[in-house]
Amino acid sequence: MVDVQGLVNELVSKLRRRKVEGSSATARLTAELLRSVISQSKLPTTNQPAALIDAVRDVGEKLIAANPIELAVGNIVRRVLHIIREEDHSNARDAVEGFRLSVGGDNDYIVEQDHLNLSAAAQSSLCRPSLHALLERSPDSETTYFTATSEDDSEEKSKSLDQNAKSLKFRRKVISAVNDLIEDINTCHLMIAELAVKHIHHNKVILTFGRSRTVKEFLCAAKEKKRSFGVFVAEGAPKYQGHLLAKELAARGLQTTVITDSAVFAMISRVNMVIVGVHAVMANGGVIGPVGLNMVALAARKHAVPFVVVTGTHKLCPLYPNNPGVPLNEMRSPSEVLSFEQFSDCMDYRIGTGAPQLLVVNPAFDYVPPELVSLFITDIGGYCPSYMYRLIADYYSSDDVVIQQKPAS
């Protein structure tokens, strides 16, 4: 049907050439592509989940390598892998259930034991290992778990019809889960905006930085609820997206003032809350946001102003910022900062050692440590930075954290 490989290549080239940028857009495209991969891939009759995982992993590696700074791509890949594993485990649970029932009453006790072990094993493999689960888990249960899968296989052999039905069901379940994921990505800002009225009351003054669609919807939702407040928008050089956001907010009836980034410290004493959108949220609760965000966060900390980050869960990354595989920053063209025409004569100078005399620095992102963030507002509620690791455990499997180019084995 559809040429999956062609789709993959197309998205890879878009990412590499920065034709598509931004967390939401890339996340959505990645999820859709992976959905196609799952639906189109030919799966063996045995051990479907592993095959799916391999297929998705393969595609994911290419996508991540195309644009490493777009962490949302990796997030979605890991989410899909997690979905597959989840479905696999829930299948295993059902299989064990069925096995137990089919075995009969002779070995009720043993079977129950096995069942219990199986469920415990299944649960523990899905959930974060807690101390309790670790102590409960015995080597038996682990082997039982593996036997369960092999039993699953044997069951497939024995009950081919069942097996086919199961495999179809499996793929369908995975695809429906991926569809939910896409739906979440598309509507996250709506869910977040519903929480807006809880945080913004009358006569508040909000400061925001650059332009984030989530923030825009957040503020507009509060405005819809007839809260009147003022907004300072820092322009966010060198992209100057703050100008666009200010224009949109003013069109919606909000009292908006545009300030330069250098005036943030001067104005923040007058501000009640800082609300920003970010590029990605790391596992330790730190955020990667538009360049200049760290300055804003420091100023907010100095003046004891709450620094609130609104984010969809697709931006949540299971990696830590000191991970060497995570590029925290990306350099953009210096022409955005310094005009080539005016300074072309200076650009050619070399100092004695041959190093360039004039170096123009134009990073695209900024890392804000978790200490400076007061609150994360996500589509599933509000959380503090120290809770982020828990959400990550819900959405990702630890096996998938490292997606590397594996040699063909």
């Binding site: 003032t257 330069t260 104005m267 004039l358 620095v361």
Partner: protein, 608 residues
């Protein structure tokens, strides 16, 4: 030296050294050849009393009458006010603290009038170095005065490189003895001495007493011999000559105390002495004598001369010359108008200025400015406002000297926006051969950092440039932050270009020291906690338009949108806890010491 000589040719000193030199042809030739140490400062009227910086300043008496007298002998007087402080700053001399010297001066006002200026400056120096009795000092003063008189002769007005002139002057004073012998001044000196010896026959004896008596006797002597201060000067010179033996040691002492400071001191003391002189002179003098100490007005005599030399003035910038002529012709009058004209002329001259090959910017530029000032003084005595304004030009040198001690090889220095003081520091440090890198941080809408960047790159510094948003990215490799200030308030808050507070905050977060470089006249007794209660708003359209980026056009017609405002702040207040140190012309102080400076030193300034 050549420069000075050249400048001397620009305007014939004889012309302007009105009143002091006209009656005495002899001193003129003698004066001219020697390095023109003293610019027209001699011609400064006594009413120009530079604010004394320290109490010792007040002890420095009588600049005016002495200058007048000294004129004859060579007005190597340090220019009143304006040069002196810088000069003293340059030489970083200790404060002259010589009440005794002052006393001596007061006593010997008249003799000081003649050579008192020299003597006093000497005594100033001595005062700081060795607080002797006035008696001692008097002889020394006279001794030193004698050589100084000589040098004064040589100095003449409008020496080019006024600063150098000043230094030269000091040196001349200190080494006037040897100079005497070397130059033709010696001949003039001999002439003068002969005159003085004739007049000062009765003036030997106790120097302090002799001084006053000499002054008195000088006056009558003066009258017959010259219409202006020649005789008194000669008298003092004579007495000074007697102390020739003291001169060599005096030289060293002279070197200790900077002439400029003495200038100021001289001024106030001259003032006192003038009062005395007035009292004593009335009996013997007519009205003209009353203002003997002032440069007399020779209408029209210099103007054609100077005009003819307009096209020969190599050393003097045409703008400066033009303003000088306007002063002379009376086209510009009024304190403010003259001050403004002078500053504008300086502005032009500085804009056209480029450091010559072998010289350093700071020294050469200040030398040039000093020469211009002396030219102005020659044309018409400076007003106080002009003197103060000129002094402000010179304070930078001190700040630069302090600040470069903080720059080490291998440093990465960050600066924000464009501060002239910081630029001077960086360029000077680069000239001195220090190896360091500069990071220029810039912000919208003014983008002042680009101009600074261009100037630094042109001078060969290795620079990095970024927008203020990238601070967190680059701060980890920065070792020190140098910032300028528009003003420093009494609670230690630094009021400066918007964005400075952010720079200081991020530097603080990365544990990088922040140094504010700021002249002392920017300190203010106001206090302020945030940037909102007092600020300045700029043009909001400057925010809407981004030069060079046509794709950023969201805010076209922003005025039509009723809910949209644009805020263009110009300044912000940096809290004192982000600042490690403030470098001023008084030294390096912590931000908590600002009210001390405001209280102790600012009240001396009349223009506050």
């Amino acid at each position: 030296m050549e420069a000075r000589r050249a400048s001397r040719t620009v305007s014939d000193p004889k012309v302007r050294h009105v009143g002091f030199f006209t009656p005495d042809p002899n001193p003129h030739p003698g004066r001219t050849p020697l390095a023109s140490d003293a610019p027209v400062s001699n011609a400064l009227s006594p009413v120009m009393i530079p604010p004394p910086r320290q109490p010792s300043d007040r002890t420095a008496a009588v600049p005016v009458p002495e200058t007048g007298q000294r004129r004859q002998t060579g007005a190597d007087q340090v220019p009143v006010g304006s040069y002196n402080p810088s000069e003293s700053l340059l030489s970083s001399s200790p404060l002259p603290s010589s009440p005794s010297s002052r006393v001596g001066l007061v006593d010997g006002e008249f003799s000081e009038e003649s050579g008192g200026w020299l003597r006093r400056s000497e005594s100033e120096k001595y005062a700081s170095s060795l607080p002797d009795t006035m008696v001692e000092r008097a002889p020394e003063n006279s001794a030193s005065a004698a050589p100084r008189l000589e040098s004064k002769k040589s100095v003449e007005v409008t020496g080019k490189g006024g600063k150098a002139v000043l230094e030269e002057q000091n040196e001349v004073q200190s080494s006037s003895k040897p100079l005497k012998e070397k130059t033709t001044k010696a001949e003039r000196r001999a002439l003068q001495e002969a005159q003085r010896a004739a007049k000062a026959s009765g003036k030997e004896g106790n120097k302090s007493a002799a001084v006053s008596q000499g002054a008195a006797s000088v006056k009558p002597v003066k009258q017959p011999s010259q219409k202006k201060d020649g005789p008194p000067v000669s008298v003092s010179v004579v007495s000074f000559d007697k102390k020739g033996g003291d001169r060599p040691p005096e030289k060293e002492r002279k070197k200790d105390v900077p002439a400029p400071r003495m200038q100021f001191d001289d001024k106030s003391r001259v003032q006192k002495a003038k009062k005395h002189a007035v009292v004593k002179q009335t009996e013997a003098r007519n009205r003209v004598e009353l203002f003997r100490h002032l440069p007399q007005y020779e209408h029209g005599t210099q103007l054609p001369d100077l005009e003819s030399k307009f096209f020969q003035l190599d050393p003097v910038h045409p703008a400066i010359y033009k303003v000088g002529l306007q002063y002379l012709a009376g086209d510009i009058s009024g304190g403010n108008a003259r001050c403004i004209a002078m500053l504008q002329a300086f502005k032009e001259a500085i804009e056209d200025y480029s450091t010559p090959q072998e010289k350093t910017l700071a020294r050469d530029l200040t030398a040039k400015i000093s020469s211009y000032v002396s030219f102005f003084i020659e044309c018409r005595p400076l007003s106080i406002s002009m003197g103060n304004a000129i002094r402000f030009l010179k304070t930078h040198k001190v700040i630069v000297r302090h600040a470069i001690t903080k720059i080490r090889d291998g440093d990465v220095l960050l600066t924000y926006g464009s501060s002239c003081v910081v630029e001077m520091i960086l360029l000077y440090a680069h000239e001195m051969g220090k190896q360091f890198r500069v990071v220029v941080v810039d912000s919208r809408p003014k983008l002042e950092g680009q101009a600074l960047l261009r100037r630094l790159v042109a001078k060969g510094l290795s620079c990095a440039y970024s927008h203020i948003n990238a601070l967190s990215y680059i701060m980890h490799e920065v070792t020190k932050v140098f910032l300028g200030a528009a003003s420093v308030l009494s609670n230690g808050t630094v009021y400066s270009r918007v964005g400075t507070a952010s720079v200081a905050m991020v530097a603080n977060a990365f544990h990088v020291p922040v140094l504010i470089c700021c002249e002392a006249y920017k300190f203010h007794e106001r206090v302020q906690l945030d940037s909102i209660c007092s600020n300045e708003l700029g043009d909001p359209d400057a925010i809407a338009k981004v030069p060079g980026r046509t794709d950023v056009n969201y805010l076209n017609n922003w005025a039509n949108k009723e809910n949209l405002q644009l805020l263009n702040l110009m300044y912000d207040a940096t809290p004192a806890d982000y600042i490690s140190m403030i470098v001023t012309d008084y030294g390096m102080i912590p931000p908590t010491s600002v009210p001390v400076i405001v209280r102790e030193y600012r009240r001396d300034h009349v223009f506050l």
